[in-house]
């Protein structure tokens, strides 16, 4: 398996603070990886080390087969978390400049600009100054700056940060398009629902250490939530019989909807069929895996109290400045 990215025992400190410790990571070419974790977990430091903007204190790094991203800069697209533009520069000139810095010839770069702007819903803005665009429009332009040279590796640090739902949708489509084109995509986010929807593989970082490195399919199997959401068709239905059903461990009622927890080893399909027979359902579904639950469970195991778990859950679910996926 050819790797686009490989980190071995990477460590980075800032003074007495350990930002990243013992980080191992192997991203195959063509993969779509999500790096998740709460704010301050070490995601951006990892990405900056991958980009050779920061350098590790120890450990080894390989990017697109090179010992440093500096040797493969033109094949990498990067959207940093803290991103800006030259405010007085025209959009077309800015994108052309970024493409030229990435090795494209001036004419080639300029010819790609109108098509790309069209694709992200900003036709005809190339002659406008960057300062004349709204924040959402500007973020789409910044994203184009990262992909205009069709990179082999696309690294996006909190790409959905501060985006409105329309922009999030546009960006998500573009990221998936780049992935389909064959680019390896590594994106970081602290809102785990984003990674849940898009990524094939997730890496969780907590306090500078990797706490999970798993394919989404494997995660779903490994962290089966064993919970069924059930909403009766009739508002006055009496589902008291549900708690006595074989395989059901616990039933909780919230606003007319029931959360039914199953005993370990119980086949959810069998229980769902029985439920539908017992009480006419308006909605019956198996609860989706939520990365935040997985994350909280992992970091809480054996070392955190319930209060700490609650705080962790809040830190990974609260969108803060980031919008949820549309």
């Amino acid at each position: 398996m050819q790797l686009a990215l490989e980190l071995k025992r990477v460590r980075k400190t800032f003074g007495t603070t350990v930002a990243v410790e013992g980080m191992d990571l192997a991203v195959p070419r063509g993969a779509l990886y999500g790096v998740i974790g709460p704010n301050g977990a070490g995601k951006t430091t990892c990405i900056r080390m991958i980009m050779s903007i920061l350098f590790p204190d120890s450990g080894e790094l390989s990017v697109l087969g090179q010992r440093s991203a500096l040797e493969a800069k033109d094949r990498i697209g990067y959207l940093p978390e803290e991103r800006g533009v030259y405010r007085k520069m025209k959009v077309g000139a800015f994108l052309t400049y970024m493409a030229q810095l990435k090795g494209l010839a001036g004419e080639d770069a300029a010819s790609r600009v109108p098509r790309l702007l069209q694709e992200v819903g900003l036709p005809g803005v190339e002659s406008k100054r960057c300062e004349d665009l709204s924040k959402g429009m500007l973020q789409r332009v910044q994203f184009l700056g990262a992909i205009i040279h069709q990179p082999d590796l696309l690294i996006l640090d909190e790409p959905f940060s501060g985006q409105d739902p329309v922009s999030v949708r546009v960006l998500r489509d573009q990221i998936l398009k780049e992935h389909r084109r064959g680019a390896t995509v590594l994106l970081s986010t602290h809102v785990m629902a984003n990674a849940e929807e898009m990524c094939q593989h997730v890496v969780m970082i907590h306090q500078g250490r990797k706490v999970l490195d798993e394919a989404m399919s494997g995660l779903r199997r490994q962290f089966d939530p064993r919970t069924i959401h059930f909403e009766p068709l009739e508002a006055n239905a009496n589902p008291s019989s549900l708690s006595g059903m074989t395989g059901v461990e616990r039933v909780e009622s919230v606003d007319g909807t029931y959360r039914i927890s199953l005993m370990p080893g119980t086949d959810p399909g069998v229980v769902m069929a029985r439920l539908a027979t017992a009480v006419a359902p308006a909605r019956i579904e198996l609860a989706r895996l939520r990365l935040e639950d997985v994350f909280v469970r992992i970091v809480s195991e054996g070392e955190h109290s319930d209060a700490v778990s609650q705080a962790l859950r809040a830190s990974v679910t609260a969108p803060g400045p980031e919008g949820a996926l549309a």
Binding site: D74, I76, G84
Partner: protein, 460 residues
């Protein structure tokens, strides 16, 4: 390597175009010549037009009885105008012909002479009470009356020396508050002329002969160099070192200041990390320094061009050694590299312009040093002080440029050694600054002090 050079070129090109392609730059570029033109051409005209003629009374106590009449004539407006004309003509005696012709043309001379004061002379009794006359100076005057401007008291031995003495007496001058000091000069000139005339008359001498005997015309020297001779121009020689030092500082300030503000702006608007994904910090710094260097060179080229055009227009181009322009360019490049590296490192280290001030203070002081030393070095270009300063970076390039512009330029080996020392210093400073630039670009928060910068440089 090829890609790296390409990226540096792209950054430099953007920096250059961003600085040059805006109205502010064009206005700034034309502002300096416009200010000079204003000072040289318009300002004197306005000054002369707006100065109302001095009008008032001058009281004279003349115990000799031989001066007052002559003094009255010497203080007549026509006589004052004639003296001013003579003085202006003497000042221009050694100026190039074109300048002399232009300056002595009637309108130009009229402007230089201005409107002579209108003075009414009041002769007092020889035994007048001095205290009372002094009080006269402070007496209030009616709105439409003449001001009491001065009291001249001639000494009794002013025309005929006292017995047994070879020295003549002179005069005393009393004036009220707030009198233009130029009036004192006019009064001195008039008293001197009338006293000399009275003394010559008393001694029965021929004034024309005396003046002819006293007159020795100062020669306009000719500077002789290998293969050429040119007329020495003292004013030009005095002025030139300042011009060269000024151009050096000005060129550095233009590029350096823009470098500082743009780096701070790139850092504060977060475009820096986007750039760092495409170029290395060293490439970015090199590109920015080169781009702004091109801006400074453009500005210097425009100003040097204007200067050369002015010299040609006044037929003074022969006074300038063309090699000096080459030296100016070379010393500019060396000094610029050193200072630009410092400016960019400071820009990368701080979060906003306000924070840059404390770090920039020592740099600005060094840049101001040439102004402090220019007169001393220009007057004694080969003194120990001037020679020593020529080898102490970062002021060595300025010191050498001032020496080169002086009337007695330094030996070639000293010029070459200054370049070598300057280049070595520029390389060391750039190396150090690049380390700070590298670390500082992504640092936010508390502004760094000098010890933090040194720690960053060690860490990089």
């Amino acid at each position: 390597m090829k890609q790296s050079v390409r990226r540096i070129g792209l950054v430099a090109g953007r920096e250059f175009l961003a600085a040059v392609m805006n109205k502010g730059f064009v206005i700034g570029l034309l502002l300096m010549p416009a200010i000079i033109a204003l000072l040289v051409v318009v300002f004197p005209r306005l000054m002369n037009r707006n100065v109302p003629p001095v009008r008032g009374e001058v009281a004279v106590i003349d115990p000799t009885g031989q001066v007052a009449t002559g003094l009255r004539a010497a203080l007549a407006p026509d006589a004052i105008a004639a003296r001013r004309r003579d003085s202006a003509t003497r000042a221009l005696q050694n100026a190039p012909e074109v300048v002399r012709d232009a300056a002595t043309s009637t309108p130009a001379m009229d402007r230089a002479i201005g409107t002579p004061p209108q003075l009414t002379i009041l002769e007092r009794q020889a035994n007048a009470d001095l205290q009372r006359e002094k009080q006269w100076l402070t007496e209030p005057v009616a709105a439409d009356g003449l001001r009491h401007l001065a009291l001249i008291v001639l000494q009794p031995d002013a025309v005929v020396a006292a017995a047994g003495s070879a020295k003549y007496g002179s005069y005393e001058l009393f004036i009220p508050q707030n009198i233009d000091d130029r009036l004192e000069t006019e009064l001195y000139d008039a008293v001197r002329e009338s006293l000399v005339a009275a003394r010559i008359r008393t001694h029965n001498l021929n004034r024309t002969e005396v003046e002819a005997v006293m007159n020795v015309r100062r020669a306009a020297s000719v500077t002789v160099a290998v293969g050429e001779e040119r007329r020495t121009n003292v004013a030009f020689n005095r002025f030139l070192p300042f011009v060269f030092a000024g151009l050096l500082v000005f060129g550095i300030m233009i590029g350096g200041q823009t470098l500082l503000t743009q780096t701070v702006e790139e850092k504060s608007n977060r475009v820096i990390e986007v750039l760092l994904s495409a170029v290395s910090p060293v490439e970015l710094m090199a590109g920015k320094i080169l781009g702004q260097m091109a801006v400074s060179m453009l500005v210097l080229a425009v100003y040097i061009g204007i200067g050369l055009f002015a010299l040609m227009s006044f037929a003074m181009i022969g006074l300038l050694n063309p090699l000096l322009i080459l030296y100016l360019v070379m010393f500019f490049l060396i000094s610029y590299l050193l200072f630009a590296a410092v400016f960019s490192a400071v820009g990368a280290a701080v979060n906003e312009m306000r924070e840059a001030q404390s770090l920039m203070t020592p740099v600005m002081l060094v840049l101001m040093a040439p102004w402090m030393f220019a007169t001393v070095i220009g007057r004694e270009p080969n003194s120990t002080f001037a020679v020593a300063l020529s080898f102490i970076p970062p002021v060595n390039t300025f010191a050498m440029m001032i020496r080169l512009g002086s009337a007695t330029p330094p030996p070639t080996w000293q010029v070459l050694l200054t370049m070598l020392v300057g280049l070595a210093a520029a390389c060391v400073v750039t190396w150090f600054a690049a380390k700070i630039f590298k670390v500082g670009l992504l640092m936010h928060g508390k502004p760094p002090n000098m010890s933090t910068l040194i720690r960053w440089a060690r860490a990089a």
